[in-house]
Each structure stands twice: as structure tokens, then as C-alpha cells.
């Protein structure tokens, strides 16, 4: 089909449809409403179902219902609406149901504004709902990467029977870039023999629930969940490095901020400063390996975020005191410019020695 120019929000929607998602329940909120609108138009074309729910809470519980039948289902929102979905997300984890939840993050807290932000990092990586759980979180940096990661999000969801979060920001959702939807390679995935589609007299009733009144039994279930999270940590880490081989300082950034940071790195490199980048693609599981490999030879790390400093805590855990960890961030919908990031590089590295 060749390259097409599309908005990020529309790319998420089309990529989901091409990944076999036929059910979407959502509620519009800026800056991701184009995703909802695209699904409303597109899903009937592929024999799917789009439903605008009365609220985000209703939408996530509709997702729970649909996921229970084993179909590929998605919902999307932006920060305040995503907060409303937390109870349902916790239930999805507890009931081990696969689904993809999109959060196109905007400025917060509270109603905040509609500008780009990454300040839901804690919420998506540390469990925004109640109970002991983690969810795989994928953070694309370009519209082409959205195509790939949306598809992977559905595969991971089915492989581990877990909700998966796709996290972008308002800038990624609103911008246009050329994208190409290639042929999808179908992954080998476990059969959904747990789906509640009726037993037709051929076995015991199937039950999907997160309720377990017996404490020991719930603890056993939690242990099984923890084992699953350990498997995900082992198999689903994704990251990219850029010019880290000879770097004295390594920047850490994800999503669109990684692109702005890359520009700043290129400028610093032109001035002879050896700076590289670690770009986490999976925010959970957080990529520890590139830090373990570099922390004893670099002088320091600089985490750049559209938040007051959230991912930087995971960076510190991964670096574990072996090197300095610095931070630069803007909040409230302000996007850090490449010039500001470059200035931060100069400040931390001590600038250009002549």
C-alpha cells in the first residue's frame, strides 16, 4: 500500500485494526479523540463493533466483558480518563484478561490541560490501580514504531493473558508522519481455551473472576501472577541505544522526548562531546541491561522527561549508585526543546573544553 501520511492517533487505530482488533469501547478526550473517531468509522468496515460508552469507567468494563470472550479488544483515553479506568485495569489483571489500553498522556494533575506530557509514568509502570501488579507498557517514539508496537501489544496481551498499555503523548497523537503498514507476521499464541463462549455441554463451566475469598488461595493466585510478571520481565524488555559505545554521558528518554534528545546529542557530538542515548521502549519491564553494561564506565546519566522526574527513579535503581544520575524535565504540557536539552548536556558535562 506504500507510505501514507497520517496522524499518530489514527495510526494507533489502524494498526490495532490490522492486528485483528475488532472491538473498541471508548470515550472521547483530547488529545486522543481522533483515535476514537477513526475506530467509529473503520470498525464497521471490518465487521467489528465500535461503541462510545457513557464514561471511561463503562468503557473499560465493556473491555473486560469482551476480553472474556477471547476477542481482541481495545480502549483508549488520555490522562484524566485513563485514571478513571484504573479499577477496571486492576480487574483485568486479576482476572488475567488480555486487552490493549492506550494512554495519550496530557498535562496534569487533575484536569490539567491538553498539551503533551509523560507524567503518567508512575501510574502506568507502578500500578495505577489496587493490588500487586505490573502491566507491560510500550512507548513508541515515531508513527512507524506505533504500527509495530500496537501489533506487539496485542500479541503480548494474548501470550500472557494480561492487559498491555500503549503510552504516547499529545505530540505523538497529533503529529503526522509517513507510515507504512506492511504485512503482519502472525505470532504463535496460546489457544484461548479459557474464553467464556459457552461450554455447549462439553466440559465444566468456565469462570472469569478476580474474586477469591480464601486468603491462602488468593496468595497462591498472586504467586502465579508474580511468576508471570517474572516471565514478562525476562522476555519482553525492549530498548534502543544510540551512540552509547564510546559515550562519557548517556541520556535516557522515551517516546517523543527521545527524538528531541537525539537532536541535542547530535549537536553535542558535533562539538566533540561524547554523549549517547538509552531509549526504553518497554517502560515496564524497564530495561536494566543497557545500564548494567555501561554504569561502570560512564561518568553519568541524564534522564529527560516531560514530568517532574519519574522515570529517573528507575534509572537510579538500574544504575544503583555506580554513576551520577541527573535529570531535566518540563511539566504541565511544556515540551522541552532540543536547545534546552543541549544546554543541560553542557551544564552536566562541564561543556566544551577548548
Amino acid at each position: 500500500m506504500g507510505k501514507v501520511l497520517m496522524k499518530g492517533n489514527e495510526v494507533i487505530a489502524e494498526a490495532a485494526v490490522q492486528a485483528g482488533c475488532k472491538y473498541f469501547f471508548g470515550y472521547p478526550i483530547t488529545p486522543q479523540s481522533e483515535l476514537v473517531a477513526y475506530m467509529a468509522r473503520r470498525l464497521p468496515e471490518v465487521g467489528g463493533l465500535f461503541l462510545q460508552a457513557e464514561s471511561e469507567i463503562a468503557a473499560i468494563n465493556m473491555v473486560y466483558g469482551a476480553a472474556g470472550t477471547g476477542v481482541r479488544v481495545m480502549t483508549s483515553s488520555s490522562s484524566p480518563g485513563f485514571s478513571l479506568k484504573q479499577e477496571g485495569i486492576s480487574y483485568l489483571v486479576g482476572s488475567e484478561l488480555p486487552a490493549v489500553v492506550v494512554n495519550v498522556v496530557r498535562g496534569g494533575p487533575g484536569l490539567g490541560n491538553i498539551q503533551p506530557a509523560q507524567s503518567d509514568y508512575f501510574q502506568v509502570t507502578k500500578g495505577g490501580g489496587h493490588g500487586d501488579y505490573n502491566i507491560p507498557v510500550l512507548a513508541p517514539a515515531s508513527l512507524q514504531e506505533i504500527v509495530e508496537l500496537t501489533s506487539e501489544a496485542f500479541d503480548i496481551a494474548d501470550r500472557y493473558r494480561t492487559p498491555v498499555i500503549l503510552m504516547g503523548d499529545g505530540m505523538l497523537g497529533q503529529m503526522m508522519e509517513p507510515v507504512e503498514f506492511g504485512e503482519r507476521t502472525e505470532s504463535e499464541l496460546p489457544e484461548k481455551n479459557w474464553a467464556t463462549t459457552g461450554t455447549r455441554g462439553d466440559g465444566q463451566p468456565k469462570i472469569i473472576t478476580s474474586l477469591e475469598l480464601n486468603a491462602e488461595a488468593l496468595e497462591t493466585r498472586n504467586e502465579a501472577l508474580q511468576n508471570k510478571f517474572a516471565r514478562i520481565k525476562e522476555n519482553e524488555v525492549r530498548y534502543e541505544t544510540y551512540k552509547t559505545d564510546d559515550a562519557d554521558y548517556i541520556m535516557v528518554a522515551f517516546g517523543t522526548v527521545a527524538r528531541l534528545t537525539m537532536n541535542a546529542i547530535n549537536k553535542a557530538r558535533q562539538q566533540g562531546l561524547k554523549v549517547g542515548l538509552i531509549r526504553p521502549i518497554s517502560l515496564w519491564p524497564f530495561p536494566e541491561k543497557p545500564f548494567l553494561e555501561t554504569r561502570d564506565r560512564v561518568k553519568g546519566y541524564i534522564s529527560v522527561e516531560m514530568s517532574a522526574g519519574q522515570m529517573v527513579e528507575d534509572v537510579r535503581l538500574a544504575v544503583n549508585g555506580h554513576a551520577d544520575v541527573d535529570f531535566y524535565g518540563r511539566t504541565g504540557g511544556v515540551v522541552p526543546t532540543q536547545e534546552e536539552i543541549y544546554q543541560k548536556i553542557l551544564t552536566v558535562t562541564g561543556g566544551i573544553s577548548v
Binding site: L5, P31, N113, I114, M171, Q174, P178, T256, Q338
Partner: protein
């Protein structure tokens, strides 16, 4: 080649579609492109703008702080972006609607009475295409042919009869530059 352009004006002047046309045209020519709109809660009478990056290499930042070219279609846009054009850059002004005069000597400034010219052509709404034509002639970032090809993508089927007048406006813009500069 790296061209980072900001196009700004009132909502309705076609600044967003100008940017999209450049992005489409760049894509058709095999270049890397990005288009980023300002999508804040803009007030009526305020400015809407978009940033377009066309590059031979992968686009890093879709966000442009210091544009290599700014095309401004109203006074607030002039005030906001004239100081930000990077040294050696280009400022294209729709002087039919912008009453300001740039005092910068480190950039190239082009003033076109685009709205008046469009009026003379019988369609005030193609003022943006006149400015776009001038932009293309001055920067050669994409070709006019690619932009005309892109019009078929940007305009829905029922508006394809408008392609001809847009094309004329585009050519008008390019010819005004090639004659005077």
C-alpha cells in the same frame, strides 16, 4: 537538507493545509517529513500554527523552536515568530494583513500582498497557495508538481474542482518571486 518551517495565521486561513501539502509533497519525493499542529485551546483571533520538517535524513524533533523559514499570515503570528527565525533564515509575510515591518537584517524577508492578489484572482481563500508558491520558489524544498499532486490527497473528492484555482495561485506565487528576486 533540513528545512524546518513554521506556518502561522488565523484559523481558517489554511495554514494547517499549507503545512500538510509540504509534508505530502516531501513524502512523495522520498524525503523524511513530519507535521505537527499547535492544538492548544486557541482563542478566536489568536494564532494557529504548524511546524513542518522536511529532511534528507530521519526527522529528529518534529517540534521547531527556531524555524529556518516562518510564513506569517497575521499580526500576532508576526510578533510571535519573526524574532525566532534562525539567522540566515527566511520570513515570508502576507503584507495584506500584516502591518508590521521586520527590522532584522540577518534574515531574508519577503513581503507579498497575498490576500489582495488572491482577491484579484477571484478567490480570497487561495492566498495561502500564493505564499506557498513563493516559499517553494525561494527554498526549493519540494517541487510545485509534488504539491499539485498532493492537493489531490488533501482535498476530498468533491473539492477536486478547486485544484485548478489552487494551482494557478501556486504558480502566481512562484512567478512573483522569480520576477522580483
Amino acid at each position: 537538507m533540513l528545512e524546518e518551517t513554521i506556518i502561522a495565521g488565523f484559523g481558517g486561513q489554511g495554514v494547517m493545509s499549507m503545512g500538510q501539502l509540504i509534508a505530502y509533497a516531501g513524502m512523495f519525493e522520498g524525503k523524511a517529513v513530519s507535521w505537527l499542529p499547535s492544538y492548544g485551546p486557541e482563542q478566536r483571533g489568536g494564532t494557529a500554527n504548524c511546524a513542518v520538517v522536511v529532511s534528507d535524513e530521519q526527522v529528529g524533533s518534529p517540534l521547531v523552536t527556531y524555524p529556518s523559514t516562518a510564513i506569517v499570515l497575521n499580526n500576532p503570528s508576526f510578533d510571535k515568530f519573526e524574532p525566532l527565525v534562525s539567522p540566515g533564515g527566511l520570513l515570508i509575510i502576507n503584507s495584506s494583513l500584516v502591518a508590521r515591518v521586520s527590522k532584522r537584517s540577518d534574515i531574508k524577508v519577503i513581503e507579498l500582498t497575498a490576500t489582495d492578489i488572491a482577491n484579484d484572482m477571484g478567490n480570497v481563500r487561495v492566498a495561502n497557495m500564493i505564499l506557498l508558491g513563493a516559499f517553494i520558489e525561494l527554498t526549493r524544498v519540494v517541487s510545485c508538481e509534488s504539491v499539485i499532486h498532493s492537493l489531490k490527497k488533501v482535498l476530498s473528492e468533491d473539492k477536486h474542482h478547486l485544484i485548478e484555482v489552487n494551482k494557478q495561485a501556486l504558480n502566481k506565487g512562484t512567478s512573483m518571486i522569480s520576477v522580483t528576486h
